[in-house]
């Protein structure tokens, strides 16, 4: 429940700290995020900022959404182009944001802790050991039980497998939040931010950099 910004993961490298220590960092590229809409408590029952990035043809969105853009353009007197990606960020007070204005990377500063949300890399169909961390069986010594999930339930009662039972299946491609990542440096000029440690997803993956409350 705080303001954030869209980002694109570029990859990892290492930089040196003041004491000569090497810091592993992820480079995240951003661009100015345009305020597409403001929602207020009086009008909508809650307050938030709708931010958007990228471009999209106007004909590619449905009529109700087109209508919203028209309303916003009328209200702000600006030409807010149709955005490819939209995300709503809940904030307490929208008065600091201007309709059609921009939110930049400078909302963060070096040394701050932030949360990063992304979509993890898809791993395909995986077994219970990799997917859920099951122990598996012994590798040798006559054992014929290696990577199988083992027993999945009881007998005549309940005569079924409980819903949500951890089993093999599709892994990855999930929304993942990594909390409390330290901002190592903010490069406002190049719209880049260096975050200590790893963030979810592949290179060129979309991220949300969230300010901590």
């Amino acid at each position: 429940m705080s303001i954030g910004i869209f980002g694109t993961k570029l990859g990892m490298t290492q930089v040196f700290g003041e004491e000569g220590n090497a810091i592993p960092v992820t480079v995240v590229k951003t661009e100015p995020n345009q305020v597409v809409n403001l929602r207020t408590k009086e009008k909508n029952g809650y307050s938030s900022v709708l931010l958007g990035v990228g471009q999209k043809k106007k004909t590619r969105i449905n009529k109700p959404l087109q209508g919203q853009y028209e309303l916003v353009n009328k209200e702000s007197g600006k030409d807010v182009a149709v955005k490819q990606k939209l995300k709503e960020f809940r904030v307490d007070d929208v008065s600091a944001y201007e309709l059609g204005g921009f939110v930049n990377i400078d909302i963060f500063e070096a040394g701050e802790l932030i949360d990063v949300i992304g979509t993890s890399k898809g791993k395909g169909f995986q077994g219970a050991m990799k997917r859920h961390g099951f122990a598996g069986g012994p590798g040798g010594h006559g054992s014929q039980f290696h990577r199988a999930p083992g027993a999945v339930g009881q007998c005549a009662w309940p005569s079924k497998i409980f819903k949500g039972k951890k089993m093999p299946g599709k892994m990855g491609n999930d929304r993942v939040t990594v909390k409390n990542l330290k901002v190592v440096a903010v490069d406002v000029e190049n719209n880049r931010i260096l975050v200590k440690g790893a963030v979810p997803g592949p290179k060129n993956g979309t991220l949300f950099l969230m300010k901590k409350k």
């Binding site: 694109t8 570029l10 990859g11 930089v15 000569g20 960092v25 490069d187 190049n190 060129n204």
Partner: protein, 120 residues
């Protein structure tokens, strides 16, 4: 939103890269290392043979081996680390390997690296 990823990452690393004298595998080098003791800072020299150079960008590092009081000592330095004050080459070595790990198995005269001779 396509970016030139390699270019972007290189430009991040650029600021941290340092210029040192060029040295190769087999060279004998003096590495001047900054050591911080409390608030005082002093410089210690580590002299030995360069065994390996690996990596690229800010992650590039090299390994130096020396014999200290009869015991082999190896130390890995990140080449662009701020703790390295400077590097001096005292002897150019003639080697035909890119990694000199075979020095670990050798003692005495066999553990030496031939000096590079330049023809006229």
């Amino acid at each position: 939103m396509a970016h030139d990823i390699q270019k972007e990452i290189k430009s991040v690393e650029e600021k941290f890269l340092k210029e040192h004298v060029k040295f190769k595998i087999g060279d004998t080098v003096k590495v001047y290392v900054k050591i911080i003791e409390g608030k005082r800072e002093r410089i210690q020299v580590f002299e030995g043979t360069v065994m390996s150079i690996k990596g690229s960008g800010t992650g590039k590092s090299f390994k130096v081996r020396k014999i200290s009081y009869g015991v082999g000592v190896e130390r890995t330095f990140p080449i662009h680390s701020p703790i390295i004050d400077k590097i001096e080459v005292t002897r150019r070595g003639h080697v035909r390997r890119s990694k000199l790990y075979y020095l670990r198995q050798r003692v005495g005269k066999k553990a030496q690296v031939r000096e590079k001779r330049y023809s006229r």
